[in-house]
């Protein structure tokens, strides 16, 4: 397991009082949590609950209005933009719900993965292609598809390619926005299996937004439940799902046919 030089006794990511408003409306309000190395945090809630806004603010795609986001002790909200960009290219990764938002559709599969390596300074063509091929294998895309464009791939394959593109640089923190949304159940299972293995083997910390409680149960160590921009419940995943305390969480859990 590669843990780099991250201390296991310190949170990798600490969020304090994060608030984002859209005019008078609240996007998310007063969100605080710690994320530790190797931990998967699930954020669940209905559409409009603020979970995507929160993820966007955390990943730096949106500007938060108040609060602190500390990554290994450094506040990413006040960090100079170039520095933050380097972070998003190297130690962070973002997996979009729609692979088309995270892939370059006109570039080959190998190119999509290799491009990330070049962005952090890799120059040797042979090495880049070899690493890209290795990663396609890890996400179970046949080697002979390396020169095909993502357009020729199925939805599940595109999603796996997006994951390869994101993880090839060995990030420490991965943001995921509904990564299994819109996929067939069988394809979802394959992706979940793959993600779990990668999280364990690479010691990844993950923040995953999902509305699918079954996905949350299988992937997340801890859950935050959001409603109207607020975190209304936070705890161990199976405890939140099996013994929910807040009225809204009870409703959410009981509305699902079977988790």
């Amino acid at each position: 397991m590669t843990m780099h030089d991250v201390s296991l006794d310190q949170p990798l990511f600490r969020v304090e009082g994060l608030t984002k408003r859209y005019g008078k409306r609240i996007g998310c309000a007063d969100v605080s949590f710690d994320l530790w190395p190797g931990e998967v945090l699930g954020i669940v809630g209905e559409s409009g609950s603020g979970k995507s806004t929160l993820l966007g603010c955390l990943a730096g795609h949106m500007q938060a209005d108040e609060g602190k986001i500390l990554y290994r002790g450094r506040n990413t909200l006040t960090m100079p933009e170039p520095e933050r960009r380097v972070l998003s290219r190297t130690e962070w990764a973002f997996v979009h719900q729609n692979p088309r938002d995270g892939l370059r559709m006109g570039v080959s599969a190998g190119g999509n993965v290799g491009e990330r390596l070049m962005a952090i300074g890799a120059r040797n063509y042979g090495d880049i292609r070899e690493t890209a091929a290795d990663w396609l294998g890890r996400v179970e895309i046949a080697g002979e598809r390396i020169d095909d464009r993502p357009r020729q791939f199925s939805g599940g394959m595109q999603q796996r390619l997006q994951i390869a593109r994101n993880l090839v640089t060995s990030p420490r923190l991965v943001f995921m926005d509904e990564p299994t949304g819109g996929l067939d159940v069988s394809v979802q299972a394959r992706l979940l299996d793959l993600l779990r293995g990668l999280v364990r083997d690479m010691g990844l910390s993950v923040i995953i937004v999902t509305h699918d409680l079954a996905v949350a149960r299988l992937l997340a160590d801890r859950l935050m439940v959001m409603k109207d921009g607020h975190v209304i419940e936070h705890g161990l995943t199976d405890q939140v799902l099996d013994d929910p305390q807040a009225a809204y969480t009870q409703l959410l859990v009981s509305s699902v046919l079977q988790v």
């Binding site: 364990r200 160590d221 161990l236 405890q239 013994d243 009870q250």
Partner: protein, 227 residues
């Protein structure tokens, strides 16, 4: 190893008029290393509730649940995750896995989570699967399509892969034939012999008598006011 004091639990049903249902009060229990304690009581008396609280799956309303010095009732989720990984095992009645993961890996997972090398983890998994009479041709398949009895044996193999100092067993011999039942009982006896503290629910009286040192009737922990 396991020490429970003055534990209580109630459920508040916010979406059913805010009804508060007290289900447990004043529960206490102590299990020493190498000891196996059976929980008894009628269906609905709170055996599973108590097990789930010990595992941190249900929140305690008050009281303490100390397992090797860690109080499950008050520690952070992160500490419970670590406790479950290293110290406290749980064999539930139902196997819950990601579809598609091969049986061998399902059983090896607790060891892989502890950072054990894959070869070693898989070897231990294969040893347990062999003991529990899961045919080798099934090891590379996902257990989701197996029969109920096979799934349960996979679940047991997984539960015994790591040598947890404390274990919770929920009906570990239910729906097993005589041969496999004996294997499970010998696994439990082996765990006791190496010093594991075990709490179990056994409807199978013969099994209970064979492996348990004491019986605790949870009816004594039922709140007096409960209807």
């Amino acid at each position: 190893m396991i020490e429970i004091e003055n534990l209580s639990k109630s459920f508040t049903l916010h979406n059913q008029g805010g009804a508060v249902i007290p289900v447990m009060a004043g529960a206490h229990l102590r299990v020493e290393p190498g000891e196996c304690v059976a929980l008894t009581g009628q269906s609905g008396a709170g055996k599973s509730t108590l097990m789930r609280m010990i595992y941190g799956n249900y929140l305690a309303a008050s009281g303490s649940i100390r397992i090797g010095g860690v109080d499950v009732a008050t520690v952070t989720p992160r500490d419970i995750i670590r406790l479950r990984r290293e110290t406290l095992g749980y064999v539930s009645q139902y196997l819950r896995v990601v579809p598609r993961v091969p049986t061998r890996t399902v059983v090896a997972e607790p060891l892989l989570a502890l950072g054990k090398p894959e070869g070693e983890a898989h070897a231990r998994a294969e040893e347990l699967l062999t003991m529990l009479n899961i045919p080798e041709r099934l090891w590379s398949l996902s257990p989701t399509t197996f029969s109920g009895g096979e799934q349960q044996r996979v679940n047991i193999a997984r539960g015994f892969a790591h040598e947890y100092p404390a274990m919770l067993l929920d009906e570990p011999t239910a729906s097993l034939d005589a041969r496999n039942r004996d294997v499970v009982l010998s696994l439990i006896e082996g765990a006791k012999a190496r010093g594991a503290a075990i709490i179990g629910i056994f409807h199978d009286e013969g099994a209970r008598n064979q492996v348990c040192d004491r019986v605790v009737d949870v009816t004594g922990f039922t709140p007096k006011a409960a209807a």
